[in-house]
């Protein structure tokens, strides 16, 4: 895969970030810390894969935090009811697919702008969950649910490998299959897509459905790490994920972006906080720096575009 200026800039920023703890800070470069850092960011990476596809197709999904927590609760309840784990996993994925399909129908079929449609589903799912659980956490999860019954130390490398595989397949599919390219085509221009035989509405629907499945997958990789499921989990997940995609070079107007960029975006945005904690920087700065990174990404994008346009 060829590296563009965006990827190189991101790699540079990540290199700087990983150099900072070398200067008189201990504890950052330990296997445990690095492994936790990766494990913590796996769900974000999974959701960011879906979000990248949605944004490339010219859409946005801000309901993923709600989808994420509802899928988590569904998986927990399914596990507690004694269902075997494969069934639990399938049920969770199906739930995510259903939520995604609803978002897809609202936007592609009924023409509601994605930001409005997913704002509505975000609020409905979140409040529906609060009503249903009355704010209680899901506790006493069976042992075969936690770490999928593998035990923490055995499960962690498995999780990392699974997500690496998922990422690899997704990156390949987005780049080298006709279906993958159709997301780009639709994000560029509906009319031009129709002329080459692509149905834009179908592609948009597919992007949301895929997002739903990935939100559910992210939930599984997240909640199986804990003994209980908080009903207020996932708040602000959509912002983290959109930020990672945008910082990674995905054009918010659609048609452009790569999963490699998104991966770098996730690494950069997901590491800033931890590094700053080790450097004893006031946590209040973390969000400010993250905001600045997003701003820098968008501004540089506009700037390069203008430079290109001038030729």
């Amino acid at each position: 895969m060829k590296l563009g200026p965006r990827e190189i800039a991101l790699l540079g920023a990540i290199a700087v970030l990983f150099t900072l703890p070398l200067i008189g800070v201990s504890g950052f470069y330990t296997t445990g810390n690095l492994r936790n850092l990766i494990i913590d960011n796996l769900p974000i990476l999974i959701a960011a894969i879906g979000m990248t596809v949605v944004i490339i197709a010219g859409q946005i999904d801000i309901s993923i935090g709600s989808q994420f927590v509802v899928c988590g609760v569904v998986s927990g309840l399914a596990a507690k009811s004694g269902l075997p784990m494969p069934v639990v996993i399938l049920t969770t994925l199906a739930t995510g697919a259903f939520f995604g399909a609803v978002n897809g129908l609202l936007t592609a079929r009924f023409g509601i702008p994605a930001i409005i449609a997913t704002l509505a589903t975000m609020v409905i799912l979140r409040n529906g969950l609060i009503r249903a659980t009355k704010g209680d956490w899901i506790q006493n999860l069976p042992s075969n649910y936690q770490w999928l019954g593998l035990g923490q130390s055995a499960a962690q490398p498995v999780y990392i490998l699974l997500v690496a595989g998922l990422f690899g397949v997704a990156a390949w599919a987005l780049r080298s299959t006709a279906a993958g390219r159709s997301f780009y085509a639709v994000g560029c221009d509906h009319e031009a897509s129709r002329r080459v035989g692509i149905n834009p509405n179908l592609v948009i629907f597919a992007s949301f459905a895929l997002m739903g499945v990935l939100a559910a997958t992210a939930a599984l990789f997240n909640f199986t790490r804990y003994p209980s499921i908080e009903s207020n989990a996932g708040i602000g997940l959509e912002l983290k994920v959109i930020a990672a995609a945008v910082v990674g070079g995905t054009s918010i107007t659609g048609g452009r972006g790569t999963l490699l960029g998104t991966l770098l975006g996730v690494i950069l945005m997901g590491t800033i906080g931890t590094v700053f904690t080790f450097l004893h920087v006031n946590p209040a700065w973390e969000k400010a720096i993250q905001g600045a990174v997003i701003l820098a990404a968008v501004v540089s994008d506009t700037f390069f575009r203008k430079a290109e346009a001038r030729g």
Binding site: A178, R181, Y184, A185, A192, G197, E308
Partner: protein
Amino acid sequence: MVPLLQLRNISKTYPGVRALRGVEFELRPGEVHVLLGENGAGKSTLIKIATGIHETDAGGELIVAGEAVGIPSPRHMQALGIAAVYQNPTLFSELSVMENLCMSEDGAVISWSARRARSAEMLARIGARLDLDRPVRELRMAEKQLLEIARALSRSARVLILDEPTAALAGTDAEHLLDLVEKLRADGVGILYISHRLEEVLRIGDRFTVLRDGGYIGTYERMDVDRARLIQLMAGRELSQMFPKIEVPIGNVVLETRGLCHGPSGVDKISLEVRQGEILGLAGLVGAGRTEFARTLFGLTPATAGEIFIDSKPVAITCVGDALGHRLAYVPEDRKEHGVIEDLTIAENISLSLLRRLNGEWLDESKENTLAADFVRRLGVKAGNIFVQTRTLSGGNQQKVALARWLANDPRILILDEPTQGIDVGAKAEIHRIMVEFVQQGMAIILISSELSELLGMSDRIAVLRGGRLAGVLPAREATRESVLKLAMDDAA
């Protein structure tokens, strides 16, 4: 030789309009067949039928390579080898040249190396040299056009429809394109060519089919036509007397431009004047700079050079506010886009342009409503009341609301851009009546229209633009369709 494409007895009726009546067209292998006609003669509709986007009315027939096409659809016509390149390229701007060329290729899994080889081949076929990895947004217009043609031909097209391919190209780019057309003809491709540039079509055309007002005028061999003959065929008979133009005494010059320019949109040294009580028609082909001139005059795209005089005094119009201050009004072409705000009520739409004047600091709704009701009555807007959403009105009535908004501002100079486009005959006559009523009161009107008969019928003088410049001004009484068209065509002597 079996013709590649035959269109027989093609008619097309839209609600209230007959766009095409009994049109015949035939395309042989290795010929450039030029389709000619004024704006609105039905050329686009015919292409849309040939490419399966629209269906012909009953009785019409599409025959490809000797076989009748049952139910045409865009995909079906493409599969039969009929490809079209439209005036505005429909490309994927964020994606690479290579990807644009291969997007419609079959196969679920993409081999980028195969795509690369294939795209290079496609470009080589038309002799184009483009960097395969460049995103299309970085290409020049001419390069985009080449890309479209390469892509169209890749679907083993035997018929290539080119709709004004040189309209956006200058000098050598246009030359290259014509060379390419000749090369494709030599390869046996049948080319349906649409262009307003007569010199160009006389150079490359083998046969010419002329349409006028949706009717079929005839098909002519190259040896039987020349420039003058083509113009005559396109222009046809004298206009019918359907315009209620009443002679109004012409007063002093109210607006004058001297060497008005707007570089970016191509308005080039236009000097014109319009008098009190006068309707000045602005004629020209699509892209001649009529709308651009109006926008410059109205301060939407302030002039980059030249002067504007109002009542013989030099004025500066650098924004719409200036134009309003000098009591100019501009009713734009695209009604839905710029003319009325569909979600607002009739009353709100009408009072929009004079909120400041009518209200001072606070809105006075009763004043607004009185005014709106007054205009609704005067212009004969057909609506239940002034509080209905503009969206619910017919095109003609929406146009009246747009007109009312500007008339409410009590302008002295009214610029109307295609005021009767896409509205029915009755509403059209009403708009014409209103125009006469207002010039009688001493207003000056600049009327932009692509419909020659409307211009000839309504104007006192007709200014013809071509390529952003003033090609000439004709007194309407002496002007004919032919003389206007002659000036409007780019290679006029």
